[in-house]
């Protein structure tokens, strides 16, 4: 979401558009990024179960990756993974990339 100048926003911190929280990507808070090594993954769904931000993407109980718009990089998924299939890497390695 592009940030606006002080001349472009309502005064007093009032939010005049309902549902605007949807535009707020908490993934920008992330310092460490989870990376999936699919060859080790057994689709146990532990990561999906534990993720506090519902940021694990799955289809029909198959682990597909992460929703980086909302993943805050807490690393719980990597911690609970029984196969060490998730690696936490510093965001600085991905500067300029999408996600």
């Amino acid at each position: 979401m592009p940030l606006k100048s002080w001349k472009e926003i309502p005064i007093g911190g009032v939010i005049v558009t309902p549902g605007s929280a949807r535009e707020y990507k908490t993934g920008t808070w992330r310092v460490m990024r989870p990376i999936l090594h699919k060859e080790k993954c057994i689709d146990c769904m532990f990561c999906w179960l534990y993720c506090p931000d519902q940021a694990i993407v799955q289809e029909n109980a198959v682990m597909k990756g992460f929703n980086y718009d909302y993943c805050k990089g807490c690393g719980l998924c990597a911690k609970v993974c029984p196969k060490q299939a998730i690696e936490m890497r510093p965001e600085t390695e991905f500067v300029g990339e999408e996600g």
């Binding site: 940030l3 606006k4 100048s5 002080w6 926003i9 309502p10 005064i11 007093g12 911190g13 009032v14 939010i15 005049v16 309902p18």
Partner: protein, 394 residues
């Protein structure tokens, strides 16, 4: 005292004058907690409510913190909201005072100036309001009961102007004005109501067809921008206030401005102060003028925003400027002096400056004190970095 309902001079206290203005404004909501010396304002106003003279919703809250909180809710809902307080009451609402300004809620609050404890003291000085000078409220100061009445009415229009949308404190000196009886010319109800008009709410919460969010968390991505907007609103006051003051003058016949000039035209020595002490200063100016001294006074009606440009224009090239403060800023210069000194940094011909602190905790300020400060100025016996005291036992 029975209030008369005709346009004529009546002898009333400052508190009654302010309460009468509130009666005529007839805000939608008043939430207040009594504290000396503001108490009679709330007392008079509560009687108007009890007698059915006004339709105002009066909320007798359990503290000033709650009073300002209730007004924040009321004003965000779209109501015209008022309260009044003093000293420790103002300090107790401090947290919400900042919130009211940052939410841009046009609340009008007479502040009956009283020394902040401790030691415990109920009498006049400006330590209470000076503790709020960076809160983002517009701050007006009354010299007389008439001015307290007028400025309360004027403040409503200033606060609600769409280019401003800021709360206003109308300061009147505790006991000296609040409990002192003076002649006050009261305007007819219909004229006051016409002047203040109907409130124009900004995204009111009660407009349920257009739901909005008030008071969300505002982090590093937008807080700074909202603060910049407050700076702009304060700058806008400097454009808007003269227009509203002109309308006020056309309707009621009294002229207000950022400052009042008293025998200033040819004055070599100028004294600056806030509030009721200006009457004493004018008395001494008259005496010294009779003795042949070119002295004058500059009364600050508006302290926030500080009328820096006006002071620069009026004080450039004077021989001396003496600033009287009824408050301290421990470890730094007194608040009004600091503001005046800072304003004069940029003028071409800087006057010699003197700082005098007086009247703390209700200590009397007498003509001889004012004269002493003027005599220092006339003799050139001023030191810009020396804080002096009037009426203090050394």
């Amino acid at each position: 005292m029975k209030m008369q309902k005709v346009l004529e001079k009546v002898a009333i206290t400052g508190a009654e004058a302010v309460a009468y203005a509130m009666k005529q404004i007839e805000p939608d909501v008043v939430a207040a907690y009594p504290i000396t010396p503001q108490t009679p304002i709330v007392e008079y106003f509560a009687k108007y409510v009890a007698d059915g003279v006004v339709k105002t919703e009066m909320i007798p809250v359990e503290s000033e913190h709650s009073a300002m909180s209730a007004l924040v809710g009321a004003a965000a809902a779209g109501a015209r909201a008022m309260t009044a307080t003093s000293a420790n009451g103002l300090a107790l609402m401090h947290e919400i005072v900042y919130i009211a300004a940052s939410y841009r809620l046009p609340i009008v609050m007479p502040v009956v100036n009283r020394a902040l404890s401790g030691p415990l003291n109920i009498h006049c000085d400006h330590s209470d309001v000076m503790a709020e000078r960076d809160s983002g409220w517009i701050q007006l100061f009354a010299e007389s009961n008439q001015e307290a009445y007028d400025l309360t009415i004027l403040a409503v229009r200033l606060a609600e102007h769409e280019a401003v949308r800021l709360p206003v404190m109308v300061n009147l000196d505790g006991f000296i004005l609040s409990h002192g009886v003076e002649p006050v010319e009261l305007y007819p109800d219909e004229l006051v109501k016409k002047f203040v008009g109907e409130p124009k709410p900004y995204y009111p919460l009660l407009d349920t067809d257009h739901p909005v969010t008030w008071g969300p968390i505002d982090l590093y991505d937008y807080y700074f921008e909202h603060k910049r907007q407050q700076v702009e609103a304060m700058e806008n006051v400097k454009k808007v206030f003269p227009e509203i003051a002109k309308e006020f003058e056309e309707m009621f016949g009294r002229r207000y401005n950022f400052v009042e000039e008293y025998k200033l035209d040819d004055a070599d020595h100028v004294m600056i102060a806030l509030g009721s002490t200006n009457s004493t200063i004018k008395y001494v100016v008259d005496e010294l003028r009779e003795e042949g001294y070119k002295v004058g006074a500059l009364k600050i009606w508006m302290f926030r925003p500080f009328p820096k440009e006006t002071l620069q224009r009026l004080l450039n090239g004077r021989k001396t400027v003496v600033v009287l403060d009824r408050a301290l800023s421990f470890g730094a210069e007194a608040p009004l002096y600091e503001a005046v000194k800072s304003a004069l940094y940029e003028v071409a011909a800087r006057p010699l400056l003197g700082s005098y602190v007086y009247g703390l905790g209700g200590r009397d300020v007498k003509p001889e004190h004012i004269r002493k400060a003027f005599e220092d100025a006339i003799r050139g016996n001023l030191i810009a970095d020396e804080q002096r005291y009037l009426g203090l036992r050394e």
